[in-house]
């Protein structure tokens, strides 16, 4: 996996005892841990427990990390292992054990994990790039992305911006996003099928009980 200088820097600072750097790492990768947990039909307390265990294990391993770029992969496999451990314990009491087994087998496939890790990295870079946009761009894009969508009239009144400028401004903001260093470094990741496939897979696979 590629080297990521910002993750490397965060890991180095966390190793040196910097809580804010640790917090950034947690914020960056909590969505990855969370989405993997949600692929399994686990209760919320179980998921919290698994999350806590994964981060405790990372604290313990922090001094041993040689390749920070491998961190998301480590988090993903560790989260999956802890999920399977909890599932295994639960399946003893589960009369529909066979369905759990098949689910486990399906989810254990490495490609799913790899896709999730790639998608998580892409998402993290997108969020970083977004956070570094000028406030006006963040506000405009947020309003354009909101669900249900805001009308151009609402956007025009809130930002404020002339209705005729929304389109051009949107294009300029997206261009800024595209050119941000965080995203530029990812150009080699965005090839296979040209889709953020990991995210889709985790969404469809994450049917919740």
């Amino acid at each position: 996996m590629r080297d990521d200088s910002s993750v490397s820097a965060l890991v180095a600072r966390a190793q040196a005892g910097d809580q804010p750097a640790w917090n950034e790492l947690v914020e960056r990768y909590a969505p990855l841990v969370w989405s993997i947990c949600n692929r399994y039909r686990l209760s919320r307390p179980d998921i919290d427990d698994i999350g806590q265990t994964v981060w405790l294990l990372l604290v313990e391993q922090l001094g041993n990390i040689r390749q920070p770029a491998a961190l998301p992969g480590w988090l993903a496999t560790t989260t999956q292992r802890e999920c399977l451990r909890v599932l295994k314990a639960a399946s003893r009491y589960d009369s529909v054990g066979s369905s759990v087994d098949s689910q486990v087998l399906r989810d254990q496939s490495t490609p799913v994990i790899e896709q999730e890790v790639i998608a998580a990295e892409l998402h993290a870079e997108l969020r970083t790039a977004f956070a570094n946009l000028p406030a006006r761009c963040r506000q405009l894009l947020s309003m354009l992305l909101s669900d249900p969508p805001h009308s151009y009239a609402e956007i025009s009144a809130t930002v404020p911006i002339a209705i005729g400028s929304i389109g051009p401004q949107r294009a300029r903001c997206l261009e800024k996003l595209r050119r941000s260093p965080a995203l530029a470094a990812l150009s080699d990741l965005e090839v296979e099928g040209g889709e953020v496939s990991g995210a889709r897979a985790s969404e469809t696979g994450g049917a919740r009980a």
Partner: protein
Amino acid sequence: MRDIWDDERLLAALKEALEADEAVPPEFIELGKNAYAWHNIDAELAQLTYDSSREPQAGLSLRAEAASIRALTFTSAHLTIELEVSEDSVLGQVIPAQPGVVEIQGREGTTAAIEADDVGCFLIRPIPDSPFRLRFRTADGSDILTGSITL
């Protein structure tokens, strides 16, 4: 990327990225941040290495203690903590035997502290009704944190 991603795809990807982040409950992130409190506390994690409730039937019938309904073992590099769960209490044993303090750590922090006697035995009563971890500390600096326990 500049060429592959048009505005619509970039916007869709950004939407996914922001939604993936918003889906995570704040408390889940807090648990992660709080885990850093263990940095520099040289605590070893002791993982669950045996749980009688996960063993086949034969494992249970071999156990002589009729009162024990569940046995758990947590192992770290230097210590083993064995737990015997009965109706209303948990009997613990630290191996190698040594005195120390056992803290019961709930989600919100330490809920109780009990002494382990000279042979490393301790008794938890009543049984905690929410998930907890045990932290065992000795005067000479051993510091062990077990995996999460739900009884």
